[in-house]
Subunit: 270 residues, 2 copies
């Protein structure tokens, strides 16, 4: 088994359903997987849990919660309720954490500060339930290119400010794709310390042909993985690296090829 | 004349050559224009200067210098020499400043910190010449989506650190497209104060279909122009706003329509 390696199942979502993907990951020696919510709900959380256990795989994360900003109070309440349900699902499947992202601007809004405030309020509302279920929330800043439509929180600094303000039950997910450009990266990773509870990897391609779905296999782009890995290890994180690649290119290839390449690049590049 | 409005001539580069664009801007009442280097070199700096003067337009900026990172010493020297020539051209055309951007990673490099260092070194090397020619350099951070291939300096904070370190002759260009997402924007604009010497505007579209050439007309996207304008005015900047729109969409429309729309949106949105 490759101790330090997990596969985010979005990476092979076009090739395989949950069971097929999990069995393939087990066969190839991955230590864990991180499913998306639609993949778990398609079979139900109990059956998903059985599949993970039967294949001896850790569930290193569950994607994805947060997304609290909404145009009205009813929308914000619905997002909070949905996050609570997701926390229950995470507990049911034995997920080590939930990945939580900011969400975009409500439709028609230009108030980025307001969206950030709604994110903090939503997080505050669901945190007691997450603590009660013993499901940590891994706050993931998204690359600023997604600030408008997906992740109003763009930096580790902001997510750590929220951890400081809200206390236990929170940590951060360092996804190199989202943070590699940040001039304060080393400083913020050091500040994060033990609050780093997830480490996601994929590469930044030049050129990037699609803003969402042209992420790269490690080694095919410009990210210096060993340098960021050293920062993260210096901060005290020795946990798993989770490969998460949204890519029209890799989705078009056989799943077996994707998994083999992930393993080969993980060993040679990361 | 619309006192506060300048047009960056990239906005109509597919429709008109330099003379046509300048004459159209004068006709529509723009107070200034900002040409790109290829546009000036196509007619020669002396003729370009004559065209600007004959049409009574300020030259609010000259695009674009910087781009110092290179794979070897010869490449870095060439970039420095080229920037010095550009400073001479800026003086010849009466440009109020040169817009300076970071440049991307050298080919094959994954060393973003190294690229940032090369940018600082190049800037240091050309600054005496810029001072001698009395051409201010407006340091423009680019959106992090361009960190790999175009602008290794992504934040106002970093550009202001360089201003702090290198002293006279430098200022910053605040292009809302590049900085609107920054959670420290208000703080960094306040810190910039009188060092703000350029203010560029265009909108962030959702979705953005092309990373470079799908920028929006003000009002068509999610940027809160009045909010950022208030920050900039509070910092002491009362100067011109320069509209700069790289857009396959707007490049496909008649230049007259683009100019009319720019003016209408400037008045109603910004």
């Amino acid at each position: 088994m490759i101790e330090g390696l997990s596969l985010n199942l979005a990476t092979v979502r076009k090739q395989w359903d949950l069971r097929e993907a999990v069995e393939a990951c087990a066969r190839h020696g991955f230590a864990g997987v991180a499913p998306w919510r639609d993949q778990v709900i398609a079979v139900g959380p109990q059956e998903a849990a059985r599949i993970f256990r039967a294949n001896g795989l850790r569930v290193t994360g569950y994607c994805r919660g947060g997304l609290f900003p909404a145009a009205d109070a009813a929308g914000r309440e619905a997002a909070i309720d949905d996050n609570k349900r997701m926390i229950d699902e995470a507990a049911a499947i034995g997920a080590e954490q939930i990945v939580v992202i900011g969400g975009g601007l409500p439709k028609g809004s230009r108030d980025l500060g307001g969206a950030r405030k709604m994110f903090a309020e939503g997080l505050t509302a669901v945190l007691p339930h997450a603590r009660g279920c013993k499901v940590p929330l891994a706050l993931e800043p998204l690359h600023p290119v997604y600030a408008a439509d997906r992740g109003c929180i763009s930096t580790l600094a902001e997510m750590l400010d929220l951890c400081d303000a809200l206390g236990d039950g929170l940590g951060v997910a360092v996804d190199v794709y989202h943070v590699w450009w940040d001039p304060t990266l080393a400083q913020q990773i050091a500040r994060a310390g033990k609050r780093i509870i997830a480490h996601h990897i994929c590469d930044w391609l030049v050129p990037t042909k699609d803003i969402l779905n042209d992420r790269g296999m490690m080694g095919d782009g410009v990210i210096d993985f060993p340098a960021i890995r050293r920062m993260i290890e210096a901060a005290g994180y020795r946990g798993i690296q989770e490969v998460e690649i949204f890519s029209n290119d890799w989705w078009s290839r056989p799943g077996e090829e994707v998994l083999k390449t992930v393993i080969e690049r993980f060993k040679s590049v990361c």
